[in-house]
Symmetry: C2
Subunit: 230 residues, 2 copies
């Protein structure tokens, strides 16, 4: 289940409209952001974590709303053992080879130890909201070494362009739940990766939200997406 | 609820994988096609109609599968009285003015009498399947005059490109359920239009269907879509 579209977020649609509580009715695993773009979201084992721009990690009130999130009930289709030493790009190549089903959704969970993990988070914004690409210029970047934790994310098929991130979108949370964020890169020490294929996709759009209806979602924002994802 | 993507259909993914019976669990109103591209589908008041390339209209066995269809539970948000004499293009302009909510899904039902109605249907194909754009070259076109019936269709937001038809996609069935098809144009005599806004969109992708996984859905097929829709 997905709340709103990535292009609405890119266009500055930062007002939350679905409560975290509602997200958890649809899934126990996923990622997103929060009302006013207040940090990165990780949903893991049915718990919502908020990684703020100051690096702090909290479990938000479940009444907090999200403008963009994607969750699923994680069910393992396949278990993989990626080689130690690989970085994000190599990991993606590894998954391409292991999961030929390119036209469905793929939930990705990697529990492991990371020699290096680089993440980012974004600060809460005030209306009138800027474009996400402009917020990302002021993102906080965190670098961790020898950290145990979990990668939580998705590989989406190419046809979700405008709706979600085609390809890989991965967030991270540490085992002790004190660090995390949107993954920019990592170097794996050792870990186990579980993949869950999803053949159903439920999109929930805002109801009675004038700001959403007024967003120009006909524009191709793939270049902006490329900029903020890496 | 939508079965598969329009780009999979454009790419020749004509094998049905969801039964009509299952479609009716998700909605009583909609459109699509059938296994092997065997005609145009109209779902109206909970009944599935099949308009074949020979012009015949039947109620298919509900075990028949579809490779592409979109249905919803029709609930009227707004009732409109379009002017008599308008054609398809003017009707679309009329709806643009009446329904400013461009970023959600819109079910469109127009019950009326049509001075002219032009539709098409497509013949069943055998594997290896051609592209839809090539099948459309051999489509049957039907022209009716002074016909009573119902327009059944959707206006989809721009961000569904690759997944469904951005903009308008309308099918027709006559009151006596003997004629119909995918609408190419019409001239309205008199009618009442009901609009239902939809904020949830459920996409069902094929499970364990190798042919679907092998389709190249990364290609921009919007020009092909433009060709076959009008």
């Amino acid at each position: 289940m997905q709340v709103c579209t990535i292009d609405a977020l890119l266009a500055g649609g930062f007002d939350g409209h679905v409560e975290c509580r509602e997200l958890l009715r649809h899934g126990d695993f996923g990622l997103g952001t929060f009302d006013r773009l207040d940090g990165e979201m990780v949903v893991l084992d049915g718990i919502v974590y908020q990684i703020k721009a100051d690096g702090s990690v909290t479990r938000p009130d479940l009444g907090l709303k999200t403008p963009f999130a994607a969750v699923c009930r994680f069910e393992t289709t396949k278990t993989l053992e990626p080689d130690g030493g690989i970085d994000l790009k190599t990991f993606e190549g590894f998954l391409e080879a292991c999961i030929p089903d390119r036209n469905v959704f793929c939930a990705i969970r990697l529990d492991g130890t990371f020699a290096e993990m680089t993440t980012r988070s974004v600060p809460a914004q005030d209306p009138p909201y800027p474009l996400l690409v402009d917020v990302a210029k002021k993102q906080s970047v965190f670098r961790f070494e020898n950290i145990r934790g979990t990668i939580v994310g998705f590989r989406c098929p190419s046809f979700v362009q405008g709706i979600n991130v085609p390809g890989y979108h991965l967030h991270f949370i540490s085992d002790d739940r004190t660090r995390g964020g949107h993954i920019l890169n990592f170097r794996l020490a050792t870990g186990t990766c579980r993949i869950g294929l999803c053949h159903r996709f439920l999109l929930q759009l805002p109801e009675s939200n004038r700001a959403f209806q007024d967003l120009d979602l006909s524009k191709d924002r793939s270049a902006e997406l490329q900029t903020i994802e890496r």
